[in-house]
């Protein structure tokens, strides 16, 4: 399998606060990789840096064989880098349909966009029922579906998910993870950030554990699940 994303010695600081202190990450084509860690570990910062929303203080990001450091923020999506942001980031006063269409903003292939819309509606029949409704009036779970559906319409090569289970009832979390597995089964490569470490590692192929801006463990997901230290710190066992 070829390497899709390679991050080397990435450092990110907000003023004097060093949020990411030199991490290495790798995501291969077709993989589902989990990035777990406590609140404030630097997971969101890492994803934002991968999307160009935050500029790194050092290190290297190579995506699909090219360095991303010179891209403008709005050009990342054209490279196939797509993120479902923390807290979903839906456009609450746009309809469900308009939110999805925003995902396709940088595409011009009308017929393919319509086809992808149908695919998303097939994946989320609930959204099809409510396509004319303002997204802000949906439940949290439905909004997360809008955020994921919108990301699908960007045709991601690599999909970054930042805490898709945040603030959702356990039964909805199950549903969201089923969808993540379905998307993975379609061949979409994913980097999944989660507080819900157990569920994330049960879903992922490989995992990284972050602590205070550093990667402390990285291994196969099954190995991390079995690792005593990881169990004690993150899996509540």
């Amino acid at each position: 399998m070829s390497t899709l994303l390679e991050v080397k010695d990435l450092k990110v600081a907000y003023g004097g606060i060093h949020a990411v202190k030199g991490i290495d990450l790798e995501v291969k084509q077709g993989e589902l990789v989990a990035l777990i860690g406590a609140n404030g570990a630097g997971k969101t910062t890492t994803l934002k840096t991968l999307m160009g929303m935050v500029k790194p203080a050092g290190g290297e990001i190579v995506f699909d064989g090219k360095s991303t450091t010179k891209l403008a923020a709005h050009d990342y999506v054209k490279q196939g880098l797509v993120m479902v942001p923390e807290g979903r980031g839906i456009f609450s006063r746009l309809t469900v349909e308009e939110n999805l269409l925003m995902g396709a903003y940088s595409r011009n292939d009308k017929a393919d966009i319509l086809h992808d819309m149908e695919r998303v509606y097939h994946l989320f029949p609930r959204l099809k029922e409510r396509y004319k409704q303002l997204a802000g009036t949906l439940s949290g779970g439905e909004q997360q579906m809008v955020a994921i559906g919108r990301a699908m319409l960007s045709r991601p090569k690599l999909l970054l998910l930042d805490e898709p289970s945040m603030g959702l009832a356990p039964i909805i979390v199950q549903k969201i993870f089923e969808i993540i597995k379905m998307i993975a089964a379609e061949g979409v490569t994913m980097l999944l950030v989660e507080q819900n470490a157990k569920l994330a590692l049960q879903t992922a192929d490989r995992g990284y554990v972050m602590e205070s801006g550093k990667v402390t463990f990285s291994d196969k997901a099954s190995a991390l699940l079995a690792n005593e230290k990881v169990q004690q710190a993150y899996l509540g066992e």
């Binding site: 929303m53 999506v77 980031g89 269409l101 925003m102 903003y105 940088s106 960007s154």
Partner: protein, 309 residues
Amino acid sequence: MDIFLQQLINGLVVGSIYALIALGYTMVYGIMQLINFAHGEIVMIGAMVTITCINLLVGAGVQLPGPALLLVGLMMAIPVSMFLGYSIEKIAYQPLRKAPRLAPLITAIGVSIVLQQAAMLIWGRNYRPFPQILPSEVHIIGGAAITDLQIAIIALALLLMGGLFFMIEKTKLGRAMRATSQNPEVAKLMGVNVNTIVSMTFVIGSALGAMAGVMVAANYDQAHAYMGFMIGLKAFTAAVLGGIGNIGGAVLGGILLGVIESLGSGYLGDLTGGVLGSHYKDIFAFVVLIIVLVFRPSGLLGERVAERA
């Protein structure tokens, strides 16, 4: 003559002009939470450039019907105002995108003064009469008079507002503008170039402003380097009245303000026993502004709860 109907017609004419200008304030506010105080000057420059062009054409002996001369003048003035709006944003506001909100506000007032002074250097300090090139046919309906010009102003304003609504609600650009106004960070993730959207907002608002400026000049038969101040303040009031940032609110606020002002001034003399004449009409706009700010700070159609991202 029916004073009520007459003042209502006058109010609708002035109100549709306020609405067009208010749209410029409200669109910019919606995208970047900035009051572009220089917008009134864009309106003024639209009027001045049009008058200059018509005078040049007439002076050069060009034989064209009045409306055609006006159209040529507009075709010159609209791009000038658009370019000006674009440049103001790039030079004066973009470098302050991340500055505290007071900074761009002060800059806006500064830009407004610079443009006023520049206009005075170019066009002088005197009133400029609007060239007498338009047919002044008067129609009488129900005891009130309405001119061809007034009909044309209302019709064109409605057409422009309809076009703007269509653009904002139904096109990809409009969707991106709404998305950007709600959450610029996420819009960027979708591939929206926020700088382009901001520029487009200024350019569209300026084009509407230029046309509104010509309407003002034609309606009052004159233009002036300082006219942008008062008309800008009135339109800003209209935008606040409707709920700043809200497109429908700008239209509603503009028309309401025009009608209130016109009806108010029509009866002001009677109401005050002749102490205050109709030339005090400007107080209505600001009384309305104060009442709105006290009782409904978010405006008629504005959202009362602060929007969370």
